[in-house]
């Protein structure tokens, strides 16, 4: 089975508060911020590896991003994927979900035959959940989003699709695109041999030229949406620290709570 996993490098959740906004270009300033694989994408990698372990085949990871996204691809290699491809080109910069899914689709076309595309349900930085579905559209594939469990047999895939308070059981022919939730599995830790191999393995890098891309469809130019304004919301002010002797503090606190009719 030929499995492709699309992953994105995102700022480490612990570092999100450090991410500043460039109000001129209306983009996030990511310099000096530690990065991780988008957590849901890690679940997608894990699921791909489990499928390969069960029915054999090959797992290819693709990421579009700046050169430093390589570290995330290396981690995927350390987890055990067979090959990693980075789509990196100045002209890709500023892509919205439409342009990103187009660029990824072009790379997947270049790869040729495949059976399954997996990705996380959404990236934790943009939170749009649109790249997966967009990709399915560009490739004219059936899609199942928010999968919390999947099963593959012969030419079909069956997925439990998470809904608000229940789940749907959906079946689709292959090839198909699936986006997964956190519940689907617990991503494995890289192994020693995996890490060593990942350090030595070559990461394949494809540019716009390699993809024979219509440059009007990628990057800022290929984006259908424009960010008009980005800002950091003001942090809530107020708050009061009551200090002093414990018993006085307690008394004082109760008085205040009563004053504000909280108790």
């Amino acid at each position: 089975m030929e499995i492709i996993v699309c992953i994105k490098q995102v700022p480490d959740t612990e570092e999100l508060h450090k991410v500043k906004i460039n109000s001129e270009t209306r983009t996030l300033i990511r310099e000096g911020i530690k990065n991780i694989i988008n957590p849901f994408d890690e679940n997608a990698i894990e699921e791909a590896l489990r499928l390969r372990e069960k029915i054999g085949g090959r797992v290819t990871v693709i990421s579009m991003g700046p050169p430093q996204a390589e570290t995330s691809l290396r981690k995927a290699l350390a987890m055990g994927v067979d090959r990693a491809i980075l789509l990196s080109d100045k002209s890709f910069a500023g892509s919205d979900t439409l342009a990103t899914s187009y660029t990824l689709a072009m790379a997947i076309k270049k790869l040729g035959k495949f059976d399954l595309i997996l990705s996380g349900k959404q990236a934790i930085d943009g939170d749009t959940a649109q790249v997966g579905p967009g990709l399915a559209e560009w490739l004219n594939l059936p899609q199942i989003t928010y999968a919390r469990k999947i099963e593959v047999n012969e030419k079909k895939i069956r997925a439990e699709r998470t809904l608000e308070d229940s789940f749907e059981l959906v079946e689709s022919p292959l090839p198909a695109l699936i986006t997964v939730t956190k519940e689907i599995n617990e991503p494995r830790y890289p192994s020693l041999k995996g890490v060593l191999r990942a350090r030595k393995e070559k990461i394949i890098i494809w540019t716009a030229k390699d993809l024979k891309i219509n440059e009007k469809r990628t990057g800022l130019e290929g984006s259908a949406t424009r960010v008009i304004k980005v800002f950091t919301p003001p942090s809530p002010s107020g708050g009061e620290i009551i200090s002093g002797e414990t018993s006085k503090v307690a008394e004082n606190l109760i008085k205040k709570l009563e004053e504000h009719r909280i108790i």
């Binding site: 060593l196 350090r199 414990t246 018993s247």
Partner: protein
């Protein structure tokens, strides 16, 4: 000076991380400078009132639990006086919280290697117990990094002891202020050790105070040595499907190409305690080794080579902060889960904390294994700092009868450890719970020598009563 007499303001100072019960005290002093410490000490000395020194309360042997008298908390002495980046030294008041200190050092690219695992401990508590943390396998214990201390004695003197200045004379006398004090005749084992006063021919005076568990005076200031920060380490957990750890350990220690920060052992029962938090622990894993080291290709290659001929089922490696934090829990969660289990079955744990010299470790390890073989009914768990030949062997007696059996086994093990040239307490100290075992280690004579030293330095016998030895011995 803040003085508290209100019961509910004192109550949290009556316990630590041990299960020692019965803590009580009438007054709590919270001095904010040395002058106020001196005032409190003088007052207690003049009235002969016991004074227990209290720090972060993370101690595991009841050291700061007062059995009457008053408490002096050093929490107000919390200033980091200076960090000298050039000389790689820092001067701290004794109430500085270790985690705060480490945070200050981070942007300066400096590091304090012997930090204890529980980072809410204070630097003063760290020195008073000679506690040493997870990286002591590579860097050595606390003692090594303490350059100077200031101590207030019950005689009202404030003394400053710099390492390398005051040694015991050839005939075994240390000088403190105007007094000549004969050092104990026993020699502390040259291994990780926190049992009783340190003693060694021509020893440095500072080493007597390090690890003295609050029985000699109040440490008010500490100067420590720092090292350059190193790049963030990775964690690797190696799962073995046969019990081959000792051989693997031997090869790791001999290798010149690697230098782990720590080597931690987990037996099969430890892995069971972790199953809930780490459901992917491979089936059939009999043992695991946890290491931390800086990452490089050569180092990883060497690890692959070392493991070549061992029955390794799986290895887990952290590759970023998120996985590092998940894997560090492998170590932290174990102690927590064990303690929760004890609490649930409502039993206090019986825990061995023996360390022995390198060449005796195999014998101790096999001795532990035999204990298990011969007592298959008794639940046990074996884990810890195997790099330093120091394991925690915990017993879970189910009822009184089993408890009695366990106590017997425990004493046998202590005897064995001592016979092998080891210590009964490698890191947690003696406190209020291991008096009997200290006596097994140094004999009645050794303990009485400690009592003599204490009485000479603290003639009013106010500090840390019942720590290290029973206060009843002070009357003799």
């Amino acid at each position: 000076m803040i003085i508290k007499k209100n019961k509910d303001e004192i109550i949290s100072y009556l316990e630590d991380s041990s299960n020692v019960k019965g803590g009580k005290a009438e007054t709590l002093y919270v001095p904010e400078n040395e002058k106020e410490v001196l005032e409190a000490v003088k007052e207690c000395a003049s009235k002969r009132v016991p004074l227990t020194i209290s720090a972060g309360g993370t101690g595991t042997v009841g050291g700061r639990v007062p059995f009457g008298g008053r408490i002096l908390s050093v929490e107000g002495l919390n200033k980091i006086i200076c960090v000298d980046e050039k000389r790689k030294r820092a001067i701290l008041q004794s109430g500085v919280i270790i985690s705060d200190f480490l945070k200050i050092l981070e942007p300066k690219n400096l590091f304090y290697p012997p930090f204890p695992t529980e980072r809410t401990a204070f630097i003063g508590g760290n020195v008073a117990t000679n506690a040493s943390g997870e990286y002591s396998f590579r860097f050595g214990c606390t003692r090594k990094y303490i350059r100077r201390i200031k101590v207030i004695l019950s005689t009202g003197e404030l003394i400053e002891i710099e390492r390398g200045k005051y040694f015991a004379s050839k005939d075994g006398y240390l000088r403190i202020a105007e007094k000549k004090i004969k050092i104990p005749s026993y020699i502390s084992p040259p291994i990780k050790n926190s049992a009783g006063y340190f003693s060694h021919p021509e020893m440095d005076l500072i080493d007597l105070f390090i690890g003295s568990e609050g029985t000699l005076g109040v440490i008010t200031e500490v100067e420590v040595e720092l090292i350059p920060a190193f790049s963030s380490p990775f964690i690797m957990i190696i799962f073995l499907k046969e019990e081959k750890i000792l051989n693997l350990l031997g090869e790791i220690k001999e290798s010149k190409k690697i230098s782990p920060l720590c080597l931690e052992y987990f037996d099969k029962h430890s892995l069971e305690f972790l199953k809930e938090d780490f459901p992917d622990i491979p089936e059939g894993a009999r043992e695991a080794l946890y290491i931390e080291e800086e990452e490089s290709e050569d180092i990883l290659e060497e690890w692959v080579n070392l493991m070549e001929s061992y029955p390794v089922i799986d290895t887990w490696i952290s590759q970023d902060r998120a996985t590092y934090e998940r894997l560090i829990n492998f170590r932290h969660k174990l102690a927590e889960n064990i303690n929760n289990y004890f609490r649930k079955i409502k039993l206090t744990k019986v825990a061995l904390d023996i360390a022995v010299p390198e060449n005796s470790f195999r014998e101790l390890f096999n001795f532990y294994k035999n204990i298990r073989l011969n007592n298959p009914r008794i639940e046990t768990v074996l884990f810890g700092h195997i790099g330093e030949n120091h394991l925690h062997f915990n017993f879970f007696p189910r009822d009184e009868k089993e408890r009695e059996e366990v106590i017997k086994i425990y004493q046998e093990a202590i005897k064995k450890g001592v016979k092998l040239g080891g210590t009964i307490s490698a890191e947690h100290g003696v406190g209020k719970i291991k008096h009997k075992y200290l006596e097994m280690m140094y004999g009645k004579k050794g303990v009485m020598e400690m009592v003599r030293v204490k009485k000479e330095i603290d003639p009013f016998c106010i500090f840390g009563l019942d720590n290290i030895f029973s206060k009843s011995l002070l009357r003799s």
